[in-house]
């Protein structure tokens, strides 16, 4: 079931809010669309990566002579082939990255820091020989003690990953290196006073495990570096411009020398915002003078590309008897993996965002361990933080016998609320989602035995940022729209709709393309739920450019001042009776005479999109627990979220549904399982089990529309918020069904069964 709660300001749109077939649809249902691994260059050779079998080891020497002697092998690269980098932070999505770390993650230098860490790479005439050659590379390791648990890694005597990390964010920077890369703190008010005023306080500790983005398309690229240093790179990425920047830096090349073309992207979820194979393929191509293709295996995706952090989070909240929150405090410890930069900052900022709080604090630690470096994953940091907070909220509401929606409405953030992380909220739609949840059939439906219902809210910031879009009026009046943010889930459709709406023309007259780094100004990546917001804003600006210029051409022909011409229903028209009696001129008519009135007509917009508005959502989940096996089945699920305004509602619903199901996987099945030896035991889709079709029900959606005043069509980013509430909503449902408060994820059958046994022994189990 899909519903929409319409905003009051909606005018009559021709396209916005409708559901046309996406422009890239045919390519994607016929197998035509070319993804990362679908591209080949003439004369290409194949690269492969040698990876560390050890979670922590000093690399004493690498001898590639035998590999190089193998017939068909063209080159080997190691850490020495990449430029050493100084410690320097640059933005990447909602997070910062450091080149000293990136160069080491791409190819190990002094030490291998996790199982799967790249230590060398080879290029050969085919993939089979490349893999044979890997076995001939001799690496001498000094195996070191390793640490993988976030709490153990924080201990003073834990094995140290880096000698250059000194905890940042303390009053005084320590003189000894540490696995704690950073401390962050947000909040306001007086916690002691707030807790002193509380009638009830609940404090709990939560554990979540590493989970992977699980995009179905593995990383892949083809690099081609010519003798003069001109390079082209084809790859699957969320951000071709960020790939270009990283590669130029790591290889010491001029930015202008690298042209990056993003392939169609087979899922990213944040995991394709960073580089892994791309600089390696460029280095191999540079060394061999041939195009080099590299494709990652699924096992390597799990072992060597970013999962998101495992966490330990302590949440303490105090309330009055009437349900008003008096104080809220959270301590968040996020496992960053082998290099600094876990999403603990955004996690700490997100934690209490749905609430209007007088006294609040969040403290976070970014912790290093011998696991793959975490990468952004859909609302990075948010899901774990709000799993913890929303679970405590649910417990408090039940403690005082208050409906959890009423409890949230009593404490909800509204327009003008000072957020727990600083800024005052603008036009947010949290209460609207809660009211829609309360009014839904789902919330009132009866439950059967062994069943439970849970509810949780969630939030994500959403971002704007650098964006460039071009819109070219062709000779026949059709248009070519080019954006630079890769289309992962319907972006081309929404951009075309906004352009057609603005110009007053048919969407069929616009062809939309995703441009490469040589044909547009800088574009920040598709991430932070920014693509429809930012590229949409730039598309509207570019369309207005076309309208201005086309109107000016008509004015010229009519010998009128420019302000005597208006643009209505896809044509230039005299502004009023005083402007004379001229037949309207369409884009086709104006394009036909463009050569005689001043030349080609091109719209171009480059901007840094401001005013990205946060999106709040509320989820309702029903589960049934099998008392004998501990297996939970999701019976019914509803996502209610503020979209600002849905340009193409089907793709907005798709984001809601997809995020919810990723959350269901996170809640019940998905986790990285390491052995004592520090090696990943479930590096494949059989053992790392993402939800399949038979695991889930239909996902109902309600699109709430509280338009974003900063966007010409009211857009708010929608992609990330849907993964924030599911774990807490499902944990609340599990509590409702079993009487057990689950504080560890995933709530997998063995864990649920063990908890049931314990609760039955204590007499507290409901089933």
């Amino acid at each position: 079931m899909q519903e929409r709660v319409k905003d009051a300001l909606a005018r009559d749109f021709k396209y916005v809010g409708t559901r046309p077939v996406r422009p890239d649809g045919i390519d994607k249902v016929t197998g035509r669309a070319r993804f990362g691994a679908d591209f080949n260059m003439p004369g290409q050779i194949h690269g492969a990566v040698l990876r560390s079998p050890h979670p922590h080891a000093r690399i004493k020497s690498i001898d590639a002579s035998k590999a190089l002697a193998l017939k068909g092998v063209k080159a080997v690269v190691t850490g020495d082939d990449f430029e050493e980098q100084v410690s320097d932070f640059v933005p990447a999505g909602e997070m910062m990255v450091n080149y000293k770390d990136i160069v080491r993650n791409v190819m190990a230098r002094e030490k291998a820091l996790y199982e799967g860490h790249a230590v060398a790479a080879v290029a050969a005439i085919n993939g089979r020989i490349a893999k044979q050659a890997l076995k001939l590379i001799e690496v001498e390791y000094e195996v070191l003690p390793h640490v993988q648990d976030v709490i153990e890694a924080m201990a003073d005597d834990a094995p140290l990953l880096h000698d250059y990390i000194f905890t940042m964010g303390l009053d005084e920077t320590p003189s000894t290196p540490s696995n704690i890369a950073k401390r962050v703190e947000f909040g306001h008010g007086d916690l002691d006073a707030g807790f002193a005023a509380a009638d009830h306080i609940v404090e709990r500790v939560f554990d979540t495990r590493e989970v992977h983005q699980g995009y179905i398309e593995p990383h892949a690229c083809v690099a081609n570096v010519a003798e003069d240093g001109q390079a082209e790179l084809w790859c699957t990425t969320q951000g071709p411009w960020t790939v270009r920047a990283h590669c130029a830096r790591l290889l010491g090349m001029d930015t202008s020398k690298i042209r990056v073309t993003a392939s169609e992207i087979g899922g990213g979820f944040g995991g394709k915002t960073v580089v892994y194979l791309e600089p390696v393929a460029l280095a191999l191509s540079k060394k061999t003078g041939k195009p080099v293709k590299m494709v990652m295996s699924r096992e390597d995706c799990f072992k060597a590309t970013g999962p998101t952090s495992g966490t330990q989070i302590t949440v303490k909240i105090g309330i009055k008897e009437d349900g008003r929150i008096t104080a809220a405090d959270a301590l968040l410890k996020y496992n960053a993996g082998a290099f600094q930069g876990s999403p603990v900052g955004p996690g700490a900022m997100c934690a209490f965002a749905p609430y209007d709080l007088e006294h609040v604090r969040t403290v976070g630690f970014d912790v290093l361990s011998n696991r793959p470096k975490t990468a952004a994953y859909r609302a990075p940091g948010g899901p774990a933080a709000e799993f913890a907070v929303e679970s405590v909220i649910d417990e408090l509401a039940r403690k005082i016998g208050m409906d959890p929606i009423a409890f949230r409405l009593k404490n909800a953030a509204r327009e003008g609320t000072q957020s727990s992380y600083g800024p005052k909220f603008g036009a947010i739609g949290l209460t609207e989602t809660l009211e829609a949840a309360e009014a839904s059939d789902h919330y009132k439906a009866p439950l059967g035995p062994n069943q439970g219902r849970g509810i949780a809210s969630g939030f994500w910031f959403n971002i704007g940022g650098e964006t460039s879009v071009s819109l070219v009026l062709n000779e026949d009046g059709t248009l070519t729209l080019m954006a630079g943010t890769p289309d992962i889930g319907g972006l081309r459709a929404s951009l075309t709709m906004m352009a057609a709406e603005e110009l007053g023309i048919d969407i069929k007259d616009i062809r939309v393309l995703i441009g490469d780094t040589a044909v547009l100004g800088y574009n920040f990546l598709t991430g932070g739920s920014r693509a429809t917001f930012s590229s949409g804003m730039a598309t509207v600006e570019a369309a207005r450019d076309i309208i201005r210029e086309a109107s000016a051409r008509a004015a010229q022909l009519w010998e009128l001042p420019e302000d005597a011409v208006v643009w209505e229903q896809g044509a230039a028209r005299p502004a009023g009776p005083n402007a004379g009696d001229h037949e309207p001129m369409t884009l086709a008519q104006i394009a036909r005479v463009a050569g005689k009135t001043g030349g080609p007509i091109v719209g171009y917009s480059r901007l840094s999109a401001q005013g990205a508005a946060p999106s709040f959502g509320t989820h309702i989940a029903d589960v049934e627990v099998d008392p004998e096996t501990g297996r939970a089945t999701v019976l019914r699920y509803t996502v209610i979220q503020d979209a600002g305004r849905a340009i193409h509602p089907a793709y907005v619903e798709g984001q809601f549904q997809g995020g919810a199901v990723q959350g269901i996987g996170w809640a019940f099945n998905e986790e990285y399982i390491y052995g004592e030896d520090g090696r990943l035991q479930n590096a494949g889709f059989l053992d790392y089990r993402v939800p399949v079709a038979s695991d889930v029900p239909m996902i109902d959606t309600v699109i709430v529309e509280v338009p974003n005043p900063a966007h010409p069509y009211g857009v708010k980013g929608v992609g990330e918020t849907p993964i924030v509430p599911p774990m807490a909503a499902l944990a609340a449902a599990m509590h409702d069904a079993t009487g057990i408060r689950f504080t560890q994820l995933p709530m997998s059958p063995p864990r649920v069964l063990a908890a049931l046994d314990e609760a039955r022994a204590a007499g507290t189990a409901k089933i």
């Binding site: 994607k28 993804f35 179905i216 593995p218 699924r298 193409h648 199901v661 494949g684 038979s694």
Partner: protein, 158 residues
């Protein structure tokens, strides 16, 4: 070692190729025959992105050897539309927005077509279990299942 010479029928056309013993049907389709619509997501038969039919049977092309295609009839996503006319499943997937990134779409379409050939009137549960071998990380399956059910209803009516 000398390569094997294999003769097979792909999407109705007789084709020949040479392959090594260990080359999978997926390797052959993508690299020798340049039919890259069949995707590689895991190479272990767990994701279904490489779903094709062999003599009408739904298989993961990564679990079939190239030499096993000798004398067989292989059908891939590239053979699903007839000229300019899309298969009803392809139409419905577009209409329902049953894809986001699109990487799993070819495999899911091939699998769904195999389902409807066996069972023209599947229940939602039957659709979900039949497609349980095809991972989609974007959509949450809702619109995929609806598109398949809607296609089945249309095709029964047609």
């Amino acid at each position: 070692m000398a390569k094997h010479h294999v003769t097979t029928t792909v999407n109705g056309d007789e084709v020949e190729f040479l392959c090594d013993t260990h080359d999978t049907l997926l390797d052959v389709l993508r690299n020798e025959l340049e039919l890259t619509g069949t995707k590689e997501g895991c190479s272990s038969g767990d994701c279904g992105a490489c779903s094709v039919t062999m003599d009408g049977r739904l298989v993961c092309a990564c679990l079939v050897l190239g030499v096993e295609a000798q004398g067989a009839r292989v059908d891939t996503i590239e053979g699903m539309a007839r000229g300019e006319e899309l298969h009803p499943l392809q139409e419905k997937f577009l209409e329902h927005a049953a894809l986001q990134c699109g990487i799993c779409t070819p495999g899911i379409l091939v699998a769904a077509k195999a389902l409807l050939e066996r069972n023209p009137d599947p229940t939602e549960t039957e659709v979900r279990y039949w497609l349980a071998g095809n991972l989609c990380r974007c959509t949450g399956y809702d619109k995929i299942v609806r598109a398949v059910m809607d296609t089945a209803a249309d095709m029964r009516g047609a």
